[in-house]
Symmetry: D2
Subunit: 355 residues, 4 copies
């Protein structure tokens, strides 16, 4: 008898949802995709062609899907606004959950998911931050914890998207939570990983501009923003988010220690080709984050599966996902208000009058 | 009913055989590994643990395995000496064949496989040269054939292995065919790809040394060798093979055209990490070819599967695999004899007396 | 008769003063070093050996030196505290002035030099910011002003020194003006160059830590600091200064435009050598700023000389040098106070009560 | 009294001659350019403007120039055909000689210069191979001789010029001696430097094509050529020369040892700028060898001067310059004849009949 496989249902078949569904279908040897849900007729059409023939049952009703017998886990790739609700419902059906980031743009909602998960410690509930599964970031982490750079003290990290002139980002800003919640949340998560998730912010500043998408202003958002988080233990993280890159996706991180430095993706590249021509030497850059992180998502799929089947610890804690959104929200507030925010040593906010 | 999958048997479960078996088992959604053969008890033990539980029937007899009902294809990863025989036997059972390179180190044996395949044009018979499936080489090929570098005229290509002090390479040299047949065959195949497989050698030179493995001399082999192949249409390829690299695998190719140049892997690297330390800035390099080409092997697995199921053309011709070995054998001869070899315009060798 | 040469006197023969003196002596064909001043006996000893034999008259009194007949210009490389005074005295003797940066760490003193220079428009008075003379920065500037990156919108720039465990930086902090005045002033000057010197700050934040030199705190200084300057015209510059680099000097700048990006020194390197070894591939990094910018200083020497002899405009305005120190001082204040600073559209500071 | 300066005369004011003259005039503090010779009226016109005002006496007669009283040395930058004659005449006037490479394209003429120099051991006679003065090559040499790469065993070196569609290279081929004598002579010189100048060739092969300049054939020359030199002590050097580069000058060298590898200029670049744009990331490349090696020529100028003034050994032996041309001539012969050439252990050529 072959070893047991994890039966997985996919919720949402949009851009990222499709990828999760296909990863569980084709690239996770220990899992099998058995169900998929989408409320969208076009996505359903796609599913009939690409999932149904392989034995995946399709649903236009999330609640029905999670009742399918034998199901072990749900991967949630729907709109952010329903992540939390769907995650909680899945837990109530005793299902493991892999949820796209963020749990919510609202920190209280994030906390409610974390609390629901706390009550069911036998369930594996993970909010996937793909960079934690990327082999380059893992190599940097390993080297950091081998002590190669001394005490990590400064992190510079950026999430920079290729400029999209279609106006998509403006529409998206209506509900994304803002650049620091939507984009920098990855960089904040990396900070929690490399500095330790018990770090406490001391002060937060942020500044932004709208250089190419002035309409973002109506949602209090920016297309370029710089934020700084100073922590109580003598560490600083500073972030740059942009949606204006001409050349493609550029997600770069530096971990600067007292005795050395590690960079991840300091020299962005699509592959190992260099083109020598009359204008110089050129290499190409991935156009989108999936071009950069595709294998990290596959890795995430397989590690989540293994943790569910073997009842081993997940590679990252759910509480981090909550904390990352919280810091992102503070940065966004500092950005919009133009005011620095301060915190005491146990993380309580210090009001202006107290300063 | 789910779409039909290709039922595949794996012959040989050594280092490369295991990888092929696992790729067909786990990373080829349209194939299923149903059988595996090995004459080696240790490999059989491994198979009982890693393949049998997933429904793979195990054999210690190749002939029996290829009679398993329903079988569609065989992947051959045994010792080179039996590649040809096994490939021909599989064809006789009406099976598609994916064979590790080379078909044989003996050019006549290579030809016999090609002839057997020619008689069964409905079968897909491919000798896998992994670099043809690597995304960087493919990008370079696409750019070349878009005309970005004008007319490709010079190829520099090298296959350089990390130094292995264990003595493995000496034992291996007894039957490998020599560095140009074993290693440069990849670079020669790339030459046939980029220059076109109808090119005719005009003259061939080669020089070698034994810098770190003097015992190679007893098998007429070398640990470092340089070879040059000049073609009748005004093109040159030059190759460097080495088994002496301190830093890891370094397989680099330059395609130099009349209007530009493309390099593949001009800057070897394991991942996107750079480590800054008191001695400078360091990046690591893959230790072995599988570290460099793993995803190319996965791609090969899937494209072979698709060609078998859809009856579409294979991505490379079997005759190339024969021609690559032939040129490799001439280079090896030039290396050992210390004599340049010449050919007329239709590829016939010109003897010394005629010059 | 040979063309007239500029007769130059060098004030100060410390680390940087020596270099200026030797550059005017040996690497400025249109200038001749005719005099040098130092109050320091050890430096005087050096001068007797390295300058006097070549016809340079030595002085231990600055006032006397600047009275030497025939003198055309003074290069000032003394301690920062006397830069301004010496510059003004030189102008009073009708001499051109090339002054090491900064004019002063006190903004009012800086202004007094600028005013003195304004009264003598026939004199060339320049505070040398070496990066303006570096061929890479100039190439980036040229490309920016050819429009290759659209509208420059974000600048990231850092001045990072190699860690010096000797304690030198602590002593130096007593009078350096702090990291933003001493180090980031270069990055601020680059900002004024690339964004235009008429830009007006809108808000300024800064955060710092003392990771390796805790004693800096007694001078209100830091060994790592991050600062952000947001400008009224929708541009942002953010800076990182560090004295903690293990690997050497790393002065990197990115100019990010609406249609492209330019990096200067994104991949630090001492020369064109790469060393491949068992641990990977390593390149070295200059240990100090002079290793990175030596040729820029030579260029500065020659361009200053040409401007004096030909009465052509200097390559940079003195007022920039004042403005750069002013922004540096605001950053330093924000760093020490932990408060964001705001400015109105004509650059007047907005007090907290007004916000 | 200022220390004595070396009085230098410059012969030839063509492209390279001008540079030598200006380097001695402006960038060699211990030398002074006092005379210059050119038979060419246009060059004389240039000299009247750029040299005469600085006290340089001009001559249209070489013999007269070298009689100028006080002269200490001659730098020869005339056409290759007169290098040897002028060098010998200068020695007869008791002058030190710095001669552009090569001494001659004729090996017997080269030897005659070396013999003339041998008779006057008090004179410094150097044929300048600029790469010996380049800081990157020197760093690689230092690392090699510190043992960082074990025993150097393989050298790959290339001299690749930017394609010049003007037809210049065809005219030039009439008297250049061919690509291996004109271009690869630098790579051969590097080989003698890194492997030691006592190495003895064992066999030589070469192959070439005319991809963009078919008219080169009338002078038995090629626009792309690959040559291999195998040495008796178990070392190999292989060379690539090209005049077809689209992107600029690309002079790259690898020194491959038993325990590591060094590359020089593996990543060609004009400066430290990278341009990020919609097509990827681009860096520029120097268009010509002087863009790559300018500072090496300045260094050469100063080290030659120092050796003359201080009577210290020259940084390279004249006999190397002879040996480099000899190996170049053998490579050129192998290229044109299409035959491999063999040598016995003391370097005597083995004729075909003996093989």
């Amino acid at each position: 008898m072959p070893p047991k496989k994890l039966q997985v249902a996919a919720a949402g078949l949009g851009r990222m949802g499709k990828r999760h569904a296909l990863n569980f279908l084709n690239r996770a040897p220990r899992a099998e995709l058995v169900a998929a849900f989408t409320p969208d007729p076009e996505e359903m059409q796609w599913a009939k062609q690409h999932l149904e023939p392989y034995g995946v049952t399709l649903y236009d009703n999330y609640e029905k899907m999670i009742c399918q017998p034998g199901l072990g886990a749900v991967v949630i790739g729907t709109a952010t606004s329903v992540h939390a609700e769907e995650a909680i419902k899945a837990m109530e059906k005793n299902l493991h959950v892999l949820c796209e980031k963020p749990l919510s743009t609202d920190i209280e909602v994030c906390k409610s998911v974390a609390e629901a998960a706390k009550k069911r410690p036998h369930l594996k509930v993970m909010c996937g931050f793909s960079r934690r599964f990327d082999e380059s970031y893992r190599d940097a982490y390993k080297k950091t914890y081998q002590g190669l750079i001394g005490r990590p003290s400064i992190i510079r990290s950026q999430t920079c998207d290729k400029h999209d002139p279609s106006g998509f980002f403006v529409a998206y800003a209506a509900w994304s939570g803002g650049v620091f919640v939507d984009m920098a949340v990855h960089d904040i998560d990396l900070t929690l990983w490399f500095f330790g998730d018990d770090i406490v912010p001391k002060s937060i500043s942020a500044h932004g501009i709208t250089a190419v998408q002035p309409d973002l202003r109506k949602y209090n958002d920016y297309d370029n923003a710089v934020g700084v988080v100073e922590f109580h233990n003598g560490k600083i993280a500073y972030y740059y988010c942009s949606r204006m890159m001409a050349h493609g996706q550029e997600d770069t991180t530096e971990i600067i220690g007292t005795e050395g430095k590690l960079t991840v993706n300091g020299n962005p590249q699509s592959n190992l080709v260099n083109f020598y021509h009359a204008g110089g030497i050129t290499r190409e850059v991935p156009a989108h984050y999936y071009g950069r992180f595709e294998m990290a998502f596959v890795q995430e799929t397989n590690e989540f599966t293994a943790a569910c089947l073997d009842d081993t610890p997940l590679p990252m804690k759910l509480s981090n996902a909550v904390k990352a959104v919280q810091i992102g929200a503070y940065l966004q507030e500092a950005l919009v208000s133009g005011k620095q925010i301060h915190f005491d040593e146990i993380g309580r906010r210090i009001e202006k009058a107290q300063l």
